[in-house]
Amino acid sequence: MHVNFLGKELISPTVLASGILGNNFDILQRVHESGCGLVTMKSIGPAPRDGHNNPTVIDLGHGMINAVGLPSPGYLHMEKEWAALDNRNFPIIASIYGASVDEFQRVADYVSDKKPDFIELNISCPNSEKHGMLFGTSATASFDVVNAVKKMINTTPLIAKLTPQALDIGEIAKACEDAGADAICAINTLGPGMLIDIESRTPILDFKKGGLSGPMIRPVAVRCVYDIFKATRRPIIGLGGITTGADAIEMIMAGATLVGMGSAVTYRGIEVFKQVTNEIDQWLDDHGCTLEEIRGAAH
């Protein structure tokens, strides 16, 4: 099932979400070969960063909570990775983060030279003291980051990744579009939330708080994508709790062009990309329609 996204032909409308399995070239290639249309590298930061101690990821069955904490070798220390990716035969999104507009610019400038197919600005991570969500909850701050990066790089299409914590996510998406974002990706994890172990009376995650993902947050993700579709004309990568073809169809009807998956790997394995693609195909066949016809159909 081929899909066109910002001028690129993809083998599937499915996308590997940032932060899941994006750690090296080999695993990105494996995910692509498992039927994923577009794979996202683990978020790249301005400096080496270890992330948090464990526990960092807990599976609650109906979804997950995580505070991995944006580990990254730092953009200057990934030469072997970039060299391997140079010979790839699949499209990638390079996700990047920073603690300031200047840091976003610096990382984006360098990463853009490495020719990823897309750059995703992670302005929405809830799991760090000073990165991410601070930008994504403010339309002005979101505009400033996207605008600054867009001015610096005009060859690589930019995707802004948004947080469901914004009071009006449509307004944030519109600000990103006005600043030059080529596409919107939503949603990042919901929260942060917290788990407390009642025997030891201790928060389970080492960072104490963590973002929620997986099936339990899907209705929030669907609503966010619905709001973004109303507010902008930019294509949307919709994600948050999708694990089946029916979930994906729902997200596309809310307005998504592509559908991302992350936690779904926990529930259905790496093969989930091929499975969901086939399930979407089957549904479209059964209903005699195309992806284009159902996109935004719930509006």
Binding site: G22, K42, N53, P55, V57, P71, D197, D206, T266
Partner: protein, 277 residues
């Protein structure tokens, strides 16, 4: 709180330490009351509330108890080794594939250092009709040396204080010349497992080895523990010869906590540094 059944719960289940046992100057076993369903070679994430969480294998198991043996080496394991009866620990798991234990004769188990702990339940399952080859730095660090008296194990030490002075791989080559094994299982330092694999390849003997990488989720989502395209936590930690032949990062490289890919020797010294810090 004790005597809980662990199945596929992925939130930590809390257990109080029921007994502790000093096995060697470096190794302590923490025992818990409860039943845990697992296959030899699978692991659990052991949580010390407020400190950290690390992967460990089960080293003892019965119908109403199980044990985890830790090597007091660094920040986490030294704290774990000091745990006392009644102290509270969290356990997530079991995770991973475990050893494939299809019944067969002429089986060899090779264990190096604290790699003896993960293969202990494997030896329990395989019974008396196996060849055990075990190595350690010195006699007093040969973990579980008296646990399998009927096995007639072959031992070696770096300093020659017990058994053969030298490496398990030398004993393995001698053993193979006497017995054409149908399967070799190995757990220990990665360089040891690579040499075991190479010997087995030369002799056309299938082998299974248990790898270690820095882990986070334990169930295949985060990707922190990838070795090439394989997730050690869920595609492994046990890999067979067929897989090992394709794993170019085996005994070569590993990811640090930051995700930076480094030589295995750099990774090993970072793990020690991380542990000591």
């Amino acid at each position: 709180m004790d005597n809980k059944n662990l199945t596929v719960e992925k939130k930590p289940v809390m257990f109080r330490v029921a007994r502790t046992k000093r096995e060697t100057p470096d190794h302590v076993t923490l025992s818990f009351n409860g039943n845990i369903q697992f296959r030899p070679g699978q692991f659990v994430m052991l949580w010390i509330p407020g400190l950290d969480e690390k992967p460990y294998t089960i080293s003892y198991h019965g119908s109403d108890f199980f044990g985890i043996t830790v090597e007091a080496k660094g920040r986490f394991s030294k704290k774990a080794a000091l745990m006392k009866e009644g102290d509270l620990l969290g356990i997530r798991g079991p995770f991973g594939n475990g050893f494939n234990t299809a019944p067969m004769d002429r089986v060899c188990v090779v264990a190096g250092g604290c790699g003896t702990a993960p293969v202990a339940p494997l030896i329990d399952m395989l019974g008396n009709d196996i060849t055990l080859i075990q190595g350690a730095r010195s006699k007093d660090l040969l973990l579980f040396r008296d646990r399998y008296p009927s096995l007639n194990g072959q031992y070696c030490t770096d300093d020659g204080s017990f058994g053969h002075k030298g490496f398990v791989t030398e004993l393995l080559e001698q053993a193979i010349s006497r017995t054409p094994f149908n399967m070799v299982y190995a757990c220990g330092p990665e360089i040891m497992m690579k040499r075991v694999f190479d010997i087995c390849e030369k002799q056309n003997i299938p082998c299974q080895v248990s790898l270690e990488r820095y882990m986070r989720c334990g169930f295949g989502a985060c990707g922190a523990c990838v070795c090439g395209a394989e997730r050690v936590c869920i595609d492994g930690p046990v890999f067979n010869s067929e897989k090992l032949r394709q794993m170019k990062d085996f005994n070569q490289s590993a990811l640090l906590k930051s995700g930076a890919e480094v030589l295995l020797s750099t990774y090993a010294s970072w793990r020690c540094g991380e542990n000591i810090a």
